[in-house]
């Protein structure tokens, strides 16, 4: 078992370095999509949620696991859709760009009416 935990710690440390290396090259132009993209990636907790719900023995575990799968699905799906919407706007050809989802719609709905 001790060998097991060391193996995971190794993976953890190396992944940390990879995370820093990969991100250090992102221009500030893409910081918002990056935040949103990494948000989608931690949605991988859905795999963990499936495993615990799939291994549930009691009613309490089923309820908690069920909730976990719902929340994790929101994270994955929402994260990727939002990121894709942001990146859609970086397409540069003027003609064929689909109308940005932000542009139509009345001004000043509940979205952000502050200053």
């Amino acid at each position: 078992m001790t060998g097991g935990i060391l193996e995971y710690v190794t993976v953890f440390v190396l992944a940390g370095f990879v995370g820093v290396e990969v991100i250090s090259q992102v221009p500030s132009l893409l910081h918002t999509p990056l935040m949103s993209g990494s948000n989608a990636i931690h949605g991988v907790i859905i795999v963990g949620a499936m495993i615990v719900l799939g291994g549930a023995h009691t009613g309490a575990e089923e309820v908690l696991g069920f909730l976990a799968v719902i929340l994790a699905t929101l994270n994955v799906v929402g994260g990727f859709v939002v990121t894709d919407r942001m990146l859609e706007m970086f397409k540069s050809k003027p003609g064929d760009r689909p109308k940005g989802p932000g542009s139509p719609g009345g001004p000043g709905s509940s979205g952000g009416a502050g200053s």
Partner: protein, 461 residues
């Protein structure tokens, strides 16, 4: 190969796609493809998990997923671009919540007296960090949605209360490690949620973007902790990737504001003192407001105009009109570019996203460091819905809460034009002396309306 090995290989491929996805985000050209690769990897990981030996309740899993999709897709597709920061906050929060739930479920599902102490500790970290991220993101969402004030919320004895909650949590962690009590775990969950709330309440206004990035990083760490609990390398790798990169992004953002992270988190930025200062200033001095025609002439006969966008541009959805104005001026031989403050809007890169949507060429977008030397030779600095990011108090008055934050030097241009909706101070809640400067002209109104009028005025000039 056993089925388990195949699943592990799928997880490995998924982990690689996540790294590629983050790498793809390093250029606008490959960003979208990178995201699609990441999404494919996610789909592979989810698909492979369905074939896990001994996985029961498959229908429950499917139903839960369908519920998630039915909620997430319309919300993510229909919310306006201006509300994107809130949306990222809330999707981040549910991820943290899921991580906490996974850890709790695993804890109550195993006989914790039989497992090693470090296993219990992993669970506790997952619950603690995940629920802090969940509650913190919820408060950040409420602040951004302006359901409560964006100002820092402070109360007497705040630091003491935070300290007490922190001590209780540490004590609970030790108690659970010793007793393996499930009841205490629920208490820990409660206190972690409280910690998330009180941690975020005193953080105000302009600092919320940094906060979201930090909470994003927290969720990554919580996912990694769940990965340790479940002995799952994919969760460890993906969670750690996000945790490490989120930390780095958070640091880049806070250094862009010229402040340290602890200073942002614990200094109750722009609280009571500033508010009283602001009212004093507002009553004592007068501002000069102009007409669209005057400003149109000024712009049309300038050599160099710098447009400085802020959150007001986003709220008014005025990015297309802003581009139209820039194009009209360029056609008249005026040199135009946009000066982008790293934290303009409510997320880093917010302005870049909006202006890219309006097809503004990349060459016209200048980062703060590149733009500032140019402002001294600019005829007009046209500030569209920005405030704190051009506030000279950040340079001049050591008493100001934003003192030390790098700003765009709009005050160095020959003329300054503010398009503002009202005299209300910016998100940080601080008054801006530049508004009272004799060379400043104000044009009140919704940014989209005023810009449209300016386009007409420039054409007529």
């Amino acid at each position: 190969m056993s089925r388990g090995t195949v699943i592990d290989l799928c997880y490995l491929i998924a982990a690689i796609t996540f790294i590629l996805a983050l790498k793809g985000l390093s250029s606008p050209k490959h960003a979208r493809r990178g995201t699609l690769v990441g999404a494919a990897g996610m789909a592979l990981a989810i698909g492979a998990t369905f074939f896990r030996p001994g996985l029961s309740h498959i229908w429950l899993i499917v139903i839960a997923m369908v519920i998630g999709v039915v909620i997430a897709v319309p919300v993510a597709r229909l919310v306006k671009m201006t509300a994107m920061p809130q949306l990222v906050a809330i999707f981040n929060g549910v991820g943290g919540g899921a991580a906490a739930l996974v850890s709790i479920t695993e804890f109550i599902g195993t006989d914790t007296k039989q497992v090693a102490t470090y296993k219990v500790l992993e669970v506790l970290l997952g619950v603690l960090i995940g629920s802090v991220s969940f509650a913190g993101s919820a408060i950040a969402f409420i602040k951004l949605q302006e359901l409560i004030t964006g100002r820092p919320i402070t109360y007497p004895g705040q630091q003491v209360i935070n300290g007490i909650v922190g001590v209780i949590i540490v004590a609970l962690v030790f108690a659970i490690l010793v007793t393996s009590s499930t009841a205490l775990l629920w208490v820990l969950l409660g206190f972690s949620l409280v910690l998330g709330v009180i941690f975020v309440l005193p953080i105000g206004g302009a600092d919320v973007p940094v906060l979201i990035s930090l909470l994003n990083s927290f969720t990554g760490v919580a996912v990694a902790a769940s990965g340790f609990t479940l002995n799952n390398n994919l969760l460890i790798v993906a969670g750690t990737l996000v945790g490490a990169s989120g930390m780095l992004l958070t640091r880049m953002m806070s250094s862009a504001m010229g402040r340290s992270l602890p200073n942002i988190l614990f200094s109750a930025f722009g609280s009571v003192v500033t508010a009283s200062g602001a009212t004093e200033d507002a009553t004592g001095r007068s501002v000069r407001s102009g007409t669209a025609d005057d400003i149109g002439v000024l712009l049309a006969y300038s050599r160099k105009v710098v447009i400085i966008p802020g959150y007001g541009l986003a709220v008014a959805q005025a990015q297309h009109v802003a581009k139209e104005l820039a194009d009209t001026l360029t056609a008249k031989g005026v040199e135009v570019f946009y000066a982008i403050h790293p934290v303009a809007g409510r997320m880093p890169g917010h302005m870049n996203v909006l202006l890219a949507e309006a097809n503004v060429p990349y060459e016209q977008l200048k980062e703060m460091d590149e733009a500032n030397p140019e402002l001294a030779t600019a005829d007009v600095a046209l500030v569209v819905g920005a405030n704190d990011t051009v506030n000279p108090a950040a340079r001049n008055s050591p008493g100001s809460p934003i003192y030390g934050m790098p700003i765009i030097n709009a005050d160095q241009a020959t003329n300054v034009v503010f398009l503002k909706r009202s005299m209300r101070p910016g998100f940080a809640g601080i008054d801006n002396e530049l508004l009272y400067d004799p060379k400043t002209t104000l044009l009140f109104g919704d940014a989209k309306d005023t810009l449209t009028k300016l386009v007409a005025a420039v054409n007529a000039a």
